[in-house]
């Protein structure tokens, strides 16, 4: 088997906050993601998904532990890491005053895509993501569906082997969400290694090859849906998720069930 494109070992991030003191937002996380695979990070709000992905994209520095993208360590070689990945999140905004085409050119350039191939690459992206009709319109004039297409195109502008999607569908309507999932599926088929975070169970079920359940900064379980089903005896991902969350935190689960038992 080939080396994984993404790998983390004991990746940990601690924040300090006045009200809560030290927060272990990410706690000793070990993950791998290979070429042609979508790894789902499934967790509730505040579970540590964004923090993990931000460490992988070198925006945050790990408190301890290591992470590699295409063999480059995030702390030692952050620029090479970023060259090899594209980051997309629901809040990923575009520059309003430039056109779609200029956006793609800008991101190809800042990501050091070979200069002589940039123009050809832009045409290819415009073609592939159906941007042709509005390639020369300013981003501020586009509809949100159009912006979403431009956003994805700019994420892959430099053709990186690793793609990170942080809850990409939260702000989308159903049709746009479906389209986005289809696009992500196709990117996987091209051999990209894809990290995909979500708190929506059905989305993880449909799209992800393997699922990592993350809760309070820790990975509680990793595996394909089948493996998770076997190990827990539950069928639905929701039940599986609750199963692990309870095991992790029995006292909390008890309080929860007590509360539910009350009339």
């Amino acid at each position: 088997m080939t080396d994984p494109f993404v790998e983390t070992r004991n990746l940990t991030k601690t924040f300090y906050e006045e009200s809560r003191g030290e927060v272990r937002a990410v706690d000793s996380v070990d993950l791998t993601c290979r070429s042609g695979e979508i790894l789902g990070l499934l967790g509730a709000n505040g579970a540590g998904k964004t923090t993990t992905l931000r460490m992988l994209s070198t925006v945050l520095r790990p408190t301890s532990g290591e992470a590699w993208v295409m063999g480059h360590e995030v702390r030692k070689d952050p620029e090479r890491v970023r060259e090899n990945l594209g980051f997309y999140s629901a809040s990923t905004a575009l520059y309003p005053k430039i056109t779609a085409r200029e956006t793609l050119r800008f991101f190809a350039q800042v990501n050091r895509f070979p200069r002589e191939r940039i123009e050809a690459r832009i045409e290819e992206l415009i073609d592939r993501f159906g941007i042709g009709d509005f390639a020369n319109s300013r981003v501020e004039k586009l509809s949100s569906g159009m912006k979403q297409k431009v956003s994805i195109a700019r994420t892959v502008a430099h053709d990186p082997p690793v793609l990170i999607f942080d809850e990409p569908t939260v702000a989308l309507d159903v049709l746009n969400a479906i389209e986005l999932r289809q696009i992500i599926g196709r990117l996987r088929d091209e051999g990209k290694a894809i990290l995909f975070s979500t708190h929506i169970m059905s989305e993880a079920e449909q799209l992800c090859d393997r699922i990592a359940i993350i809760h309070q900064g820790r990975i509680l379980a990793v595996g394909t849906l089948d493996e998770l089903r076997k190990s827990t005896g539950h069928h639905y991902l929701e039940e599986i998720f609750v199963h692990f969350a309870r095991v992790r935190d029995p006292s909390e689960a008890e309080v929860e069930s007590l509360r539910r038992d009350r009339p």
Partner: protein, 693 residues
Amino acid sequence: MRLTVPIRAVFGLEIRTLLRDPRTLLISVVLPIVLIPAILIAGDWIESREARATEALSFRVAVEGDRVDLARALLLRVGDETPPGAGRDPTSRFQFVDLEEPGEALADARIDVVLHAMDYGTWMRGVEDGSVDPGPGGPPGEFDGAPRLQILFHSDRTSSREGAQALRRHLLDIREVRRDSILLAAGFPVPTDEVLVVESVNVAPPEAMEGAQLGRFLTLILLGLMTLGGSAIATDTLAGEKERGTLNTLLTSAARRQEIITGKLLAIMAVAFAIALIQILNLWLFLGLGIVDVGGALAVRIPPEAALLLLVLYLPAVALVSGVLLLTSAYARSYKEAQLYLTPVLLALVLPAAVPMLPGISLQSAILLVPIANLGVAVRDLLMGDIHIPSVMTAWAVTALAATWVTRRCVLAIQDENLLLGDRSQEEHTGGEGLFRKQVLVWVLVLWGVKILWDFNIPVQDLRWASLLGVGLVFGLFPLVVIRRFRLEPRRALALRMPHPGVWAGVLLGVPAGILTVLGVFQLVDTVVPVPTEMMESLGQALTPEAIPVWQLLIFVALVPGITEELTFRGVVLYGLRRRFGPVALALVVGLIFGIFHFSLFRIPTTATLGVILTAVTLLTGSILPAMVWHTLNNAAAVLASRDMLPGIDSEWLAEGVGWGWSVSGLVALGVAFAVIWRFRTPYPEVGPPRVG
């Protein structure tokens, strides 16, 4: 440095964004372009109108007294009595009005001046029964027997003041001519070798004068416009991007942090530079080619080489302004916040640019080490045709170095997680201490802006009111506002705790020791940048005017600042900053902040020293009370000393510098005082950055 593809891409993006936003373009580029000519033309227009108005201005004069005839004769018989060179016929400026009650008319502003002409006898009688003011000489004096002319006016009205002045000058001239002609008529030839003729002739070459005029404010204008213009792009760039979420995208791209900052910095610089260029071209076009005819002070000729040299000189200033703007944007978490910072930043940048306006500042002094100010002075010298190449090059290098340092801070700022993650918004709404810790510097900057606006725009003549409002109200209200806004716990935020009783011994010893130490610092400053004596005197007068009784001075100069300034600086400001620095750095920072609130350049080092001492005491005792007592006693001692009321201490001795021996002894005693305080210390809680595992 190589201009890599990412740098050029970022640069291009910023410039495109600017050019495609008509509003920003208007504010940052078009407005400055038309501003200078508009100012010049308007100034020209106002000046010529004013000149015409002054010329047209005549004064209404009423004549009274038993020698009205003499007064009229003097004022009307000017044809042969106007002294040579007096210019236009002065009688034309006086318009006589016949009135029953000239005194009342003067009070009602129906006339400007009253000329009261009396015989000597009348005058004497008037003085005796109190109906006539004896005048400055008092009775009797020189020229007993001569008629008296008194000019009555109201000093609170410009027209009256100026009318009286013009009338007095005119009468004096006539008196002189009359005396000479009487002497001559009586057969006394005026011995020319014993008469002094005094004339003043301005021999400065015209270029120097005009250059000095222009050079004094050119830097100020350019810097102000560059800051305003550059800010349009700067606030939008990092702060705006945090808000829109594009910064996160940019930071996950392969571009290096350095490249991103360089690209953005170059874009701001391009705008600022374009503005500087346009202004210099403007000046050259409008003044050099004489499109606007601004006679006199502004009529300076700037040869093209000089204009070019000016641009080169301003280059590091352009870089520094751009860097500071970018840094501000990097520290702000939103577009709005960046705009909030803008006023104080503008002031901070413009203040050194105003240095060339100060009289007597030479480039061969400590000013050489102050970025921007040094270039301003260099430009002034250049325009006067007086350049000292090594100093100019040093000035250039110092400012360039400062710009490099600021740029480096920008790079660090976009790597700082706490500054980056502008999206942690829950806390933003709930308020609380954590939020205050994040915003404390902004609040301090705003307070600084308020204080500066207050001090320079609200002239309060009476020291007592100035102290109550400008110090008591401003620094007393600030802690209250902050405590309310962030719902802080007042006792903790203001460090209202009782210190160990032993601390007071240290404070009592520390006050005189501190004064000697601060005086030592003052001497040190004085050897580096000589402090003008007039400044010292006027400062002393401002602080302890004669007319106010000592007990009131003790309240307004000692107690009010001693309490309210402490509540602000050793209270909430220290509380808000305590997590950011270790104790030593914290004392320095709070001390310096305290210093910059005393706007006079020469007072900053001394007040900052006092500030550091007071902060150190607060940090050691965990209480604001010793600092309040210390501060009050310190100011009280200064008040008493200025009135020579401290036994055995002469105010001259303090004012002239106590000498190094005393200040070193003071420093040693201060060490002892601090040893005592250390002995009984109960340290300020939670100082220094929290430890993260």
